[in-house]
């Protein structure tokens, strides 16, 4: 296996880094979370125009047809810059699920508008939360409840994994209630979704056994990539701040108590980066789950250290560490906690 990045991958990584550093600066993020839409519509349009909504969607369906590595390289940057756009729910959750588990008809119907960024979507992998029963003709009815679904209030299309298939419904469907929750991590809006006999369309291909599980693993990897970006940003913030802040007549970055903590953050960040890039190349579902478990702990550690090593200002609303700290906690249980994912690995290993 070769982990060298291709020219395409390098190009997309560098473009995402420089574009988002500017378009999703700290000031832009703080402005975006105040908007009624819950995100920055201009940023979303720009991401769509760059073609990044379709990065991993086949070219025949209007996407760029690149691999999971290109996708995680973009998500690393959206996570790093807390990009306020429904990119993660649309691309990492819904488009990913439809690409890997969708029937030919559903792929043809939904993937082209998803690739163009014309359709905002989200998906739930919580099969225990939603029951699907046969309705009249080809239609189905959904009942259940999904808590804190990312991007649900912004989505035009909602996709649900149930025990007996994958089902899609429009945001304005009868019986569907989407209640936005005021999240502490305002950069990633979530909503509670209640389904009462909601008419839905079955969108998976029953012949592709285990496809929803593989899509969930890829979603876990995507979230790990965002968490990696967040952890890297925390490290960079700390290195910059401690190099500027002087006490006892010297930059606090010159104290070993500070240096070693930063070095340990770098060990964790680079370890996580190796696993995220490796799992993207291998596609192995256990590695994707392992990456999410490691990412949750790495991101939370780095965000905690970012607050601590900024001292008093790290505790303020004004400085950036708190934004990542809130994101780190909110993402720690999304798509499986570290301990649940490790237990899943243990079952495979033992």
């Amino acid at each position: 296996m070769n982990l060298s990045l291709t020219d395409d991958q390098r190009m997309i990584r560098d473009a995402a880094a420089s574009f988002l550093a500017d378009a999703s600066s700290a000031a832009a993020v703080r402005a975006a979370v105040e908007r009624p839409e819950g995100y920055d519509p201009q940023l979303w349009t720009a991401l769509a125009e760059l073609g990044w909504c379709g990065v991993a969607i086949p070219e025949s369906l209007g996407g760029l047809g690149l691999d999971a590595t290109a996708l995680v390289l973009i998500l690393e940057q959206t996570g790093r810059h807390l990009a306020c756009a429904p990119y993660f729910p649309t691309v990492a959750l819904a488009a990913n699920l439809l690409t890997h588990a969708g029937s030919a008809a559903a792929r043809k119907k939904y993937l082209p508008p998803l690739a163009r960024g014309e359709l905002r979507a989200t998906a739930s992998f919580d099969a225990a939360g939603v029951r699907a029963r046969k309705g009249t003709g080809a239609s189905w009815r959904l009942d259940g409840r999904v808590a804190a679904l990312p991007g649900a209030a912004q989505a035009q299309l909602l996709v649900f994994v149930a025990r007996n298939g994958v089902f899609a419904t429009a945001a304005d469907a009868k019986g569907l209630s989407v209640r936005p929750q005021p999240a502490w991590d305002a950069t990633r809006p979530v909503a509670d979704v209640t389904l009462k006999g909601v008419p839905a369309e079955r969108v998976d291909d029953p012949a592709r056994k285990g496809a929803a599980g593989r899509a969930e693993a890829l979603a876990q990897l995507c979230l790990a990539a965002e968490q990696l970006g967040g952890a890297q940003q925390c490290l960079d913030l700390v290195v910059r701040y401690t190099s500027e802040r002087r006490q006892f007549g010297r930059p606090i970055a010159s104290f070993q108590a500070v240096k070693h903590r930063c070095a340990q953050m770098m060990v964790k960040v680079e370890s996580l980066r190796s696993l995220v890039y490796g799992a993207a190349a291998s596609g192995d579902p256990l590695e994707c789950a392992g990456a999410k478990a490691l990412a949750s702990e790495t991101f939370f550690d780095c965000a905690s250290e970012a607050i601590q090593l900024h001292g008093g200002v790290g505790f303020t609303w004004e400085f950036e560490p708190q934004l990542h700290f809130k994101r780190a906690q909110a993402t720690s249980h999304a798509l499986g906690t570290a301990s649940a994912l490790r237990e899943q690995l243990a079952q495979a290993l033992l």
Binding site: V239, M266, S271, L272, R273, G278, R342
Partner: protein, 393 residues
């Protein structure tokens, strides 16, 4: 690309076939033995094994021709992987092949290469490393051992080295000694090649916490290095020694990880055997160990992806800290899985290797740059943070 792939498959099969055909009979007992913490195991037989490898053309595979086999990096990686997969024993020639050879290839004269490289390739001459001293550990350049030039051009050496692995099983030693009195740090050092079996050299074993004695103290009292055995010229010893420490670019690390994977399998087998696998906390730690091992593998592959670049990459900077701490945690996990059985001295092949792992992995975070030195290097070279002030300047 496909052609490339085919030749790599071919090397993989060739190594696997050769190992199957040779690591048997009298060599069978060497399987999975002789690694770190177990280096005293059957030294004579392991030297015979080195000669067996040499006859098959499997020593010094990464050295350029005409000295070595000149395999490209991808094929070297395959060799180390297949060697480890077959349970190939720890290489008793490690310091000669891995450290001195590259130093001579980089800095040695033609005569030095001609005199010293063939013995390493043929598995007939074994080398020890004389760097650390009682007062030059982490502060490695604080070398006090001195060398005095003699009228005939040779050098006489006085002083003491410590932590010298397998000196008692070696024929020669490469030594850092201060050739210019009054110099400090890396300045004025000479990189000398010296036969160990000569008057003026005394080797004293150090007993480790594992009970083993693979480390030694080596005392020099007027021992001689020949005039043409100064590598890189007098006063350039530090450059040679440092160049050699940077030679490692991850080529053999995938083989190291297959050994780690074998150890993790032993831990899993022990947990299944004694019921520890039902303990939720143990299950979490085993999963965590597995995740860590995947991290190490992909980190090494990232290092290899950048192997042609001379800059030290971020992934290369963190690697020693990452693997040594992972391995130390695995040692503790192994002992916890064994429970009270870890506390009883035994030769049980299902238990003893895990006890060795538990004890010896404590050395991993100390040798070749302690955790503390690694964190300094990472902060300074990886993050551009201020350098540690010296107390003696």
């Amino acid at each position: 690309m496909a052609e490339h792939h085919e030749s790599e498959m071919h090397v993989r099969q060739e190594v696997a076939r050769w190992m199957r055909a040779h690591l048997k009979g009298r060599f069978a007992k060497l399987r999975h033995r002789g690694g770190p913490g177990d280096e005293e195991f059957e030294p004579e037989l392991r030297k015979e094994w080195e000669r067996e490898l040499a006859q098959g053309g499997w020593t010094c595979v990464g050295w350029p021709k005409p000295w070595g086999r000149g395999l490209p990096i991808a094929q070297q990686v395959i060799f180390y992987e297949e060697y480890a997969r077959a349970g190939g024993p720890g290489r008793i020639s490690l310091l000669g092949e891995g450290l001195l050879g590259p130093a001579l290839l980089g800095f040695g004269s033609d005569g030095q290469k001609r005199r010293h490289l063939p013995g390493i390739v043929s598995g007939t001459v074994y080398w020890a490393q004389g760097y650390s001293e009682p007062n030059a550990g982490s502060d490695l350049s604080n070398v006090q051992t001195r060398c005095e030039p003699q009228p005939d051009g040779s050098w006489k050496v006085y002083g003491q080295k410590i932590w010298t692995s397998l000196a008692h099983e070696s024929d020669w030693i490469f030594v850092l000694a201060r050739g210019e009195p009054g110099t400090k740090g890396g300045k004025g050092l000479c990189f000398l090649l010296m036969p160990l079996k000569q008057p003026g050299i005394t080797i004293r074993p150090i007993r480790q916490m594992t009970g083993g004695r693979e480390f030694n103290e080596v005392f020099f009292d007027g021992a001689v290095a020949a005039a043409d055995d100064v590598v890189g010229g007098a006063g350039n010893g530090w450059k040679v020694a440092m160049g050699l420490l940077e030679a490692e670019r991850g080529v053999s690390t995938l083989g190291q990880q297959l050994r780690f994977a074998h150890e993790l399998e032993l831990v899993i087998a022990a947990a299944r055997g004694n019921g520890a696998a039902r303990d939720p906390a143990v299950r979490q730690r085993i999963a965590q160990a597995w995740i860590g091992l995947r991290v190490l593998r992909y980190n090494a592959l990232r290092m290899l992806a950048g192997a042609e670049s001379t800059a030290l990459s971020r992934e290369a900077l963190i690697f020693k800290y990452a693997w040594s701490n992972w391995h130390r945690d695995l040692g503790k996990l192994a002992a916890d899985v064994l429970g009270p059985a870890a506390d009883v001295v035994t030769d049980d092949p299902a238990v003893r290797p895990l006890q060795q792992l538990f004890f010896f992995s404590r050395a991993d975070t100390i040798y070749a740059g302690t955790n503390e030195i690694q964190l300094n290097l990472i902060a300074e070279r990886g993050l551009g943070m201020p350098k540690e002030p010296r107390g003696d300047k």
